[in-house]
């Protein structure tokens, strides 16, 4: 069956093909396949599969970083992939999220609250929603004057915004510590025990199997699932359709009754809050923020993740984020691969060269990204699409030639 499908539906992207298959499964089957799959992913840093496990860096730590980048990619995808607004300064929101947590909970900060009303134990968790709210507000502040600008202007303005955020963090030394950064940022203190005196999430927790990296990876998986549900619900609603309509033809969308400015602002705001969430995770995991982490090059790297994965495709961009984070780490410190001696550090060193080349080649041959998929924009109507698929299968059978009468 699968071979027949591929032969006639040759233009279907990998992502589409996967979704056709997925949609056709019954709900219980979906659960039966999906849950173990996620559990398997979550257990990766504990199983440490050979070859896959990174050599020079902690596999769990890499996966934790992947989790944060995946969130960033999902958030940026809302803005770029769904609403078609080119944001080159997304790293600014990441920074604002991280710095909000840092400013509220680092002893280096003049606004440190952990001594007063915030208990050290729950400080991170309290700071999290505040970080999200503040990034959302900053998205609003950036968006309301600039979203009336045309696409190319928006690109440079957002790029400027990203730089301004970093430079503020760098220059306002009395508040942010400037280049010295903010250290000893709070993290959730959970599961304190003899062997883990500071709990699971502390950077100092290196007690296998659940090391700090594993704990943060799991936390980010949970957050990714929540964010995917939220973004998915939005996508399959009036909001998501408005975004795609704006992306496709903003004027036509406006004339079809879409309040384009309002929904562009929403896209910006939602993208910003997800970026802020990821930033807050970063601050908690690394417990240290400095401005250089939020260089503009990271913005372009996030964009690369979105484009690699296939813009608009939520799961695709997660894979894009994985590629961005994992590949350089895969080579780092590796001296041989499948028995062939390689200089992994050298290869890792060239990561931007490879990313650049890969982007150019990919965009020439697969401009839709590695895993393109068309978004689903309807909350209901699955049956219509399943019927279409049935009809497609009917078409592929050589015997049923009389397709004109429908597929009955």
């Amino acid at each position: 069956m699968s071979t027949e499908t591929t032969s006639t539906v040759a233009h279907l992207g990998i992502g589409d093909r996967f979704r056709l298959w997925w949609d056709a499964l019954a709900r219980p089957t979906q659960w039966a396949v999906g849950v173990p799959f996620i559990v398997l992913i979550a257990l990766l840093p504990i199983i440490k599969p050979p070859v896959l496990t990174t050599v020079g860096t902690d596999f769990a730590g890499v996966l934790a970083q992947f989790g944060m980048y995946a969130l960033l990619a999902i958030g940026l995808n809302v803005v770029v992939g769904q609403a078609g607004l080119l944001d080159l300064g997304y790293v600014g929101f990441y920074a604002i999220g991280a710095y909000t947590v840092g400013l509220l909970t680092s002893p280096d900060s003049p606004w440190n609250q952990t001594d007063s009303w915030l208990s050290q134990k729950w400080a991170w968790l309290f700071a999290l929603p505040i970080a999200i709210a503040i990034t959302a507000i900053s998205g609003l502040i950036l968006g309301s004057p600039t979203l009336r600008l045309r696409g190319d202007y928006l690109a440079i303005v957002t790029l400027g915004f990203g730089e301004i955020v970093r430079l503020l963090a760098d220059n306002l030394t009395t508040i942010t510590g400037g280049g010295r950064g903010l250290s000893r940022i709070a993290y959730p203190i959970v599961g304190v025990s003899e062997s883990r005196p500071t709990g699971y999430f502390s950077a100092g927790n290196n007690q296998a199997p659940i090391t700090s990296g594993v704990a943060w990876f799991w936390l980010s998986i949970v957050l990714i699932i929540v964010v995917l549900l939220v973004v998915g619900n939005l996508q399959r609603s009036r909001v998501g359709r408005a975004w795609v309509a704006i992306r496709e033809d903003e004027d036509a969308a406006e004339i079809m009754g879409v309040p384009t400015f309002k929904f562009k602002l929403w896209a910006f705001l939602i993208g910003a809050s997800i970026g802020g969430l990821s930033g807050a995770l970063y601050a908690g995991q690394v417990q240290f923020v400095i401005p250089t982490t939020f260089n503009i090059i990271n913005s372009t790297l996030f964009l690369v993740a979105v484009v690699l994965g296939g813009q608009g495709n939520k799961l695709g961009v997660i894979l894009g984020a994985f590629v961005i984070v994992y590949l350089p780490n895969f080579f780092l410190g590796r001296t041989e691969l499948f028995g062939i001696p390689i200089n992994g550090n050298e290869i890792a060193n060239y990561k931007y060269l490879f990313f650049g080349l890969a982007l150019i080649v990919l965009l020439i041959f697969r401009p839709q990204g590695l895993f393109p998929a068309r978004q689903k924009l309807l909350a209901y109507g699955r049956e219509v699409y399943v019927a279409a698929r049935r009809a497609a299968l009917a078409l592929t059978r050589p015997t049923s030639d009389e397709t004109t009468g429908g597929s009955r």
């Binding site: 020079g56 860096t57 902690d58 769990a60 730590g61 890499v62 970083q65 760098d170 220059n171 030394t173 400037g178 280049g179 010295r180 950064g181 250290s183 005196p197 500071t198 502390s202 950077a203 100092g204 927790n205 290196n206 296998a208 090391t211 700090s212 990296g213 970063y282 995991q285 690394v286 417990q287 240290f288 400095i290 401005p291 250089t292 982490t293 780490n329 780092l332 410190g333 550090n345 890792a348 060193n349």
Partner: protein
């Protein structure tokens, strides 16, 4: 395109001709060129040690390297499966420093292994790219590698801040050859030792030297935006006191190459000296722009600028610049061996890395097999190395930290 190319080329030549003419008139108005003879190379200039001072700027007599401990030890030590980890930026923009340290350590270990055939110690290198998040991913790898008995690193203060708790909980010796932020020893990490004076001692030394020994009355302190530069500039400003002019205290960014506004501010203030807290990549263009902007004040900077590259980039402008370093000059024998092995001259912290490597190796040779024993060994260590004598106080700072003042001549 074929048809248009010659025309375009012609056009370009015309443009250039116009430009030449335009330049001609301006140049003849300028009239003079300062250099004598053609193609004077900067090769004549080098960073030469001037004096060794303590934190208050007083001269200290050099402790001479004749009695220095050698990595070879007595020979015949026995050990197996032991390795020393080195963590720092080995790739990326900040790699130079990490590689200096790695090379110094490698040299020590190789000498040791040659003299002790029954105790082959391995160097394991871990690349942090100087990025705190990367460092938190690297640290668990180091800790969980059971053969690693001690760590030389991390190289930068930022990544040390981020990874300190990890090494501390594992009680793994963390001996840094380059992280100079004073705050690092205030975290109560019993495993952390600094193999060189911190920013306080270095900054204090040069500030006192400028103020008291050289007798400057007005100094402009410029800092970059790195942890290192800010810290150093802060100490220098404090020690200088009223001599530091806050009106010309400028800030620059790492990566900047043109400093016209900074030069203007300094020119305006007409100071006796300019102190720069930061790295050579910015120090060199800053200095040469100061000079071409007509500022003749003395120039001083710290160990981040103390690199042959500084002289190469700044050229003749570098002449007479004061550069400090908590690190001693590389003894000739060391420099020769280093050059022979890596085909480059030893850089900043190479000597420290060599010395600290020697200390760890001495611990290994003395039969230490556990991480915590090594930490105890280093805490009680008292000996002389190539650069200086090493003995630590309870916080992990050197008991007596001296600073070398160099001058470009």
């Amino acid at each position: 395109m074929r048809r248009s190319t010659p025309r375009l080329a012609g056009m370009a030549i015309l443009v250039t001709a116009g430009l030449v003419l335009a330049g001609c008139s301006s140049k003849s108005a300028g009239g003079e060129t300062t250099a004598s003879g053609s193609a004077t190379a900067a090769g004549a200039l080098a960073i030469t040690p001037l004096v060794q001072v303590d934190a208050s700027g007083k001269e200290v007599k050099s402790s001479g390297s004749s009695a220095a401990a050698t990595p070879a030890g007595k020979g015949g030590a026995k050990c197996s499966g032991v390795s020393i980890a080195m963590a720092g930026a080995l790739t990326g923009a900040n790699a130079a420093l990490g590689i200096n340290i790695l090379n110094g350590l490698t040299l020590a270990v190789d000498e040791h292994n040659a003299a002790n055939p029954d105790c082959k110690v391995e160097v394991k290198q871990f690349d942090t790219e100087g990025d705190p998040q990367k460092a938190t991913q690297v640290a668990p790898q180091i800790v969980s590698d059971t053969s690693v008995i001690g760590l030389l690193g991390p190289a930068f203060s930022g990544e040390t801040k981020a990874t300190g708790p990890i090494f501390n909980q594992a009680d793994l010796l963390s001996l840094t050859a380059s992280a100079t932020n004073p705050g690092l020893t205030k975290n109560g990490w019993s495993n952390f030792f600094r193999g060189l004076g911190n920013d306080n001692s270095q900054g204090g030394a040069i500030a006192s030297y400028l103020k008291d020994t050289l007798g400057y009355k007005k100094v402009c302190v410029v800092a970059d935006d790195s942890d290192y530069g800010i810290g150093l500039a802060e100490v220098v400003t404090q020690t200088l006191g009223s001599v530091a002019d806050s009106a010309c205290a400028a800030k620059v960014k790492t990566g900047d190459k043109d400093f016209s506004a900074t030069v203007q501010i300094i020119k305006d203030a007409a100071p006796d000296a300019v102190y720069y807290g930061g790295y050579y990549a910015e120090a060199a263009p800053l200095l040469s722009q100061l000079r071409s902007g007509g500022v003749t004040a003395a120039f001083a900077s710290g160990d981040g600028s103390n690199d042959p590259e500084f002289v190469k980039q700044a050229g003749d402008a570098a002449k007479d610049a004061y550069l400090t370093c908590p690190c001693g000059p590389a003894p000739d024998a060391f420099a020769t061996a280093y050059k022979a092995k890596f085909n480059i001259a030893p850089g900043v912290y190479s000597v420290e890395a060599y010395d600290l490597g020697t200390i760890i190796l001495a611990g290994i040779d003395s039969g230490i097999t556990t991480r915590s024993d090594l930490v105890k060994f280093v805490a009680g260590y008292d000996g002389v190395g190539l650069a200086k004598s090493y003995k630590w106080d309870k916080t992990g700072e050197l008991a007596s930290a001296s600073t070398w003042v160099y001058q470009v001549k």
